[in-house]
């Protein structure tokens, strides 16, 4: 009965937090345990030091998106890399990946950068369907790079070191961007187009223009990787830096807009962390009730090898990524999947990278992948046109996900 109500309410569109809270309440009630446990577990959220990083990174991301930083980023990468064959396509991939890493939530990228990149791609003579597919697919690229919110959230939920996850994401993330860039260069080989020359002057101007933002990744990432900053400290440094630069120095975001931006970021924070807090309770119940063990026993009946398990996991995550946002999927599924995956000999850090990489692909999976809809809405194209345009990119990303999944050393190499 509980499950029936949950599934029906979820599919009809009840907020996920209510469904999770309902499952926790119903389960504890069924087991004759005081419902107060749910409130107590929720309050435990105030005991997790890493979580403080999430609002600070989110605020910085929203502020950056509101300023002219996206257009400076595009100009800079174009000045530095535009001379390559399919240069603009490569520029598009790299800027999207960087932007997503720093703004965390997928979808923001397509909205903030799409308006800049689509016209530029069109002007440079790229085919319309190529540009559409590229921008749509690039919209979730970069989730594997620090300091993306899903990486932090995976660390919080799984208890793995966030710094390890930040390190582990680098090579798989680069692989994804590189494969997509390679495909773009190959696919545009026939198009005769004068290559833009590298201009020292333009590069210098672009560098000077972005002078305030260039130190940002270095300070934040350098600080985290070198161990100089804890994650939440890096988040605080970034927030203060972005506020000073965009609001006080460049004055691109007026102070009067700050409360609105803060409100918008806290809506996202509230939506994600409310689910996290409530799922602390429902997860605890499931673990007490031995659900992961039961799941393991069930899966072991059908699956015996690690190889088949990973394959099964990939299919499952792909479907999940197509219907659920990445934050809810992480919070709900990691506590269940992690113990089972560990039994099959999968390293928890590798699982995190594999999880996020597959979810990234899930955003492009028809019929309901989120990027497809955002793109169709943002660029005013029929959804079927977006489906078709993303197919080649989807396949290339699928290849990289398979490599990431079956080659754990790729993720774990930098940790050794």
């Amino acid at each position: 009965m509980t499950i029936l109500i949950m599934v029906l309410a979820a599919l009809l569109g009840a907020p996920l937090f209510a469904i999770i809270a309902y499952s926790a309440l119903a389960n504890f009630h069924g087991a004759d345990i005081s419902l107060q446990v749910v409130a107590i577990e929720f309050f435990r959220m105030a005991e997790q030091p890493f979580l403080v990083a999430i609002p600070l990174f989110t605020l910085s991301g929203f502020l950056l998106a509101e300023s002219n930083a996206p257009s400076r980023l595009v100009r800079l990468t174009q000045a530095l890399m535009g001379w390559m064959p399919a240069g603009l396509a490569v520029v598009c991939l790299i800027t999207c990946a960087l932007f997503t890493a720093f703004t965390g939530g997928s979808g923001v990228t397509i909205i903030a950068l799409g308006a800049l990149l689509m016209p530029a791609l069109k002007e440079a003579g790229y085919l319309d369907s190529f540009s559409l597919g590229m921008v749509t697919s690039a919209g979730s690229l970069g989730l594997l790079f620090a300091p993306s919110l899903p990486l932090i959230l995976y660390g919080v939920v799984s208890g793995e070191s966030i710094r390890d996850l930040f390190l582990a994401g680098i090579i798989p993330g680069v692989l994804m961007v590189a494969l997509l860039a390679g495909y773009s260069i190959w696919s545009c080989r026939g198009v005769k187009r004068p290559l833009a020359r590298f201009s020292k002057r333009e590069a210098l101007t672009a560098l000077r223009e972005a002078a305030w933002e260039i130190p940002l990744p270095m300070v934040v990432l350098g600080g985290i990787y070198s161990g100089f900053f804890a994650i939440s400290e890096a988040a605080a440094v970034m927030a203060v830096y972005v506020i000073i630069v965009e609001v006080l120095v460049l004055k691109e975001v007026p102070i009067s807009k700050l409360p609105r931006i803060m409100r918008e970021s806290s809506v996202l924070i509230g939506a994600i962390l409310l689910i996290l807090g409530l799922s602390l309770a429902s997860t605890n119940f499931m673990i007490d009730a031995g659900i992961p063990q039961k799941l393991l026993a069930l899966i072991s009946q059908w699956v015996s090898s690690k190889f088949t398990f990973i394959l099964l996991l990939l299919v499952f995550l792909l479907v999940l990524g197509a219907i659920l946002d990445i934050f809810s999927a992480l919070v709900l599924m990691v506590p269940l999947v992690l113990p089972v995956a560990t039994e099959f000999g999968i390293n928890p850090v590798h699982l995190g990278i594999l999880f996020l990489a597959t979810m990234e692909l899930g955003y492009l999976t028809p019929p309901v992948g989120m990027n497809l809809f955002i793109s169709s809405y943002r660029f005013d194209r029929p959804i079927t046109a977006v489906y078709l345009s993303t197919i080649p990119f989807f396949l290339v990303m699928l290849v990289s996900v398979l490599v990431i999944a079956f080659w754990p050393q790729l993720s774990l190499w930098l940790l050794a």
Partner: protein, 173 residues
Amino acid sequence: MLPSRKMLRWYRCSSNWILSGLIAVLLGGMVLLAAAQILMRNLFSYSLFWGDDLLQLALLWLVMSGAVAAAHTGEHLRINILAQYIPRAARPWMYAALHVFTAAVCAVLAWQSALMVLESAEYGDMMFGKLPAWGAQLVMPVGFGLLAFNYTIRCLSEVFHGVRRRAPHGSMT
């Protein structure tokens, strides 16, 4: 008495102002406090012993305020695969039912967190050495209470005012 449109508008407007102010104070304060902690730690090798705890509590307050703000604008994360297959005429009823469900869950959460706060007050739980902890915990019953209230209002306005705004409500972008 049924809520009139005017009352609804007044409620939305005033609560929006209060929420935005609270969020700005909380988030702005978190940025300042976190930055001050780093400066003090590195320059004077000194840090406020309650600084990190206060940050984590502020986060809890921010989460509850953000959750109420998200309820106002209908931006809570959700999946709605089936909704499009429900006949248009039936949708207000479907939404009303979902709002009742959400409001009921929030009401139970508010009630249970109120019990937790009461117990904590009875035991005399302390934070930062000398302040009663229930003051900080109060945000939970109040927050869940406001969520329950919000979804009740949404349900009523769905039933009595029908479908007015059917803006895409949900998936965070």
